[in-house]
Symmetry: C2
Subunit: 151 residues, 2 copies
DNA sequence: TCAATAGATTAGAATTATTCTAACTAAAGA
DNA sequence: TCTTTAGTTAGAATAATTCTAATCTATTGA
């Protein structure tokens, strides 16, 4: 094995990988651990228009990239990210939760055959005739899901 | 044990219980078994404005009424009823499916704190600005879920 | 009427999705 | 540096749902 270049410092530094992901974790008050950095990088880096993943999907992806993470940690992390406002949980499919990195106000097209999810910006959409919000309650969010099937 | 009244016929007849439930099963082409009759009666009889149940809820209810049904059968039956167009599956909550006896065109209010679901007739609702249906696809259904929380 | 057959139905067992918690790790204070 | 505390991880446990072998029911033919 080739010898590495001599160290100029004794203190070990975390290598400056995926700065964006790191900053996100810091801002959310989550400790930037190896596992979280890897998952945040997969979720957010290089995906300007958002992603939709299940825990299983993200786990497989992490494994392929050689990250050592358990499926339980992927679940825990997705839930923490959701709690911290980095992700949004989406329930379209009985049996699995999807997580959406797009935190803007939007709705979804759901292709039932393939399972694909596509965002629809809420900007151009108007919903008329919804009943008044019941006393003592407030609207947390309105979800519109257009379910599509192959014709 | 007291002797029962003498039979006037040799042929054994299914007693004329829950005629409405029975008719529904017949129309849907499902064999009216003891389990299905019991579950259909619970779901449809005396609930003119529709019900929202999970498998677990219906199972508990059936047990309380003394019906001998397994939880697996409740799942199977709910799925068969859905397939047959007697029910509609509703996914609002990660982790559980709800089944809705209201087959009319409608949307939902979902109280996140209590888990309560309330129907909103689609008649008075208009959604403007949805994108064009993609090529090769057709709209199976549009779900609007207003998620409410305690204020 | 009765037995044989085919197909539908049931429910215990298996699987899949998710959460829980004990062990581990990192950060903060002395 | 050592100790304490709180956060984090992942194996084990749980919850939700499906699968399939055994059972039951309806039908057909004798």
């Amino acid at each position: 094995m080739a010898k590495t270049a001599p160290k100029t410092r004794k203190t070990v530094r975390t290598p400056p990988v995926t700065t964006a992901a790191l900053a996100r974790l810091r801002d959310a008050g989550l400790r930037p651990t190896r596992q979280r950095i890897a998952l945040a990088a997969l979720l957010f880096d290089g995906h300007p228009y958002g992603r939709h993943v299940t825990a299983e999907m993200l786990f497989d992806e992490a494994r392929k990239r050689g990250a050592r993470v358990s499926l339980a940690t992927v679940y825990n992390t997705l839930n923490q990210f959701t709690e911290a406002g980095l992700l949004r949980e989406l329930v379209v499919d009985p049996g699995t939760s999807h997580f959406d990195t797009n935190m803007g106000d939007h709705h979804h097209l759901y292709f039932e055959d393939s399972g694909e999810l596509r965002d629809v910006d809420a900007g151009g959409i108007e919903i008329k005739g919804l009943p008044a919000t019941p006393r003592g309650a407030e609207v947390a969010r309105v979800d519109v899901i257009v379910r599509l099937r192959r014709r």
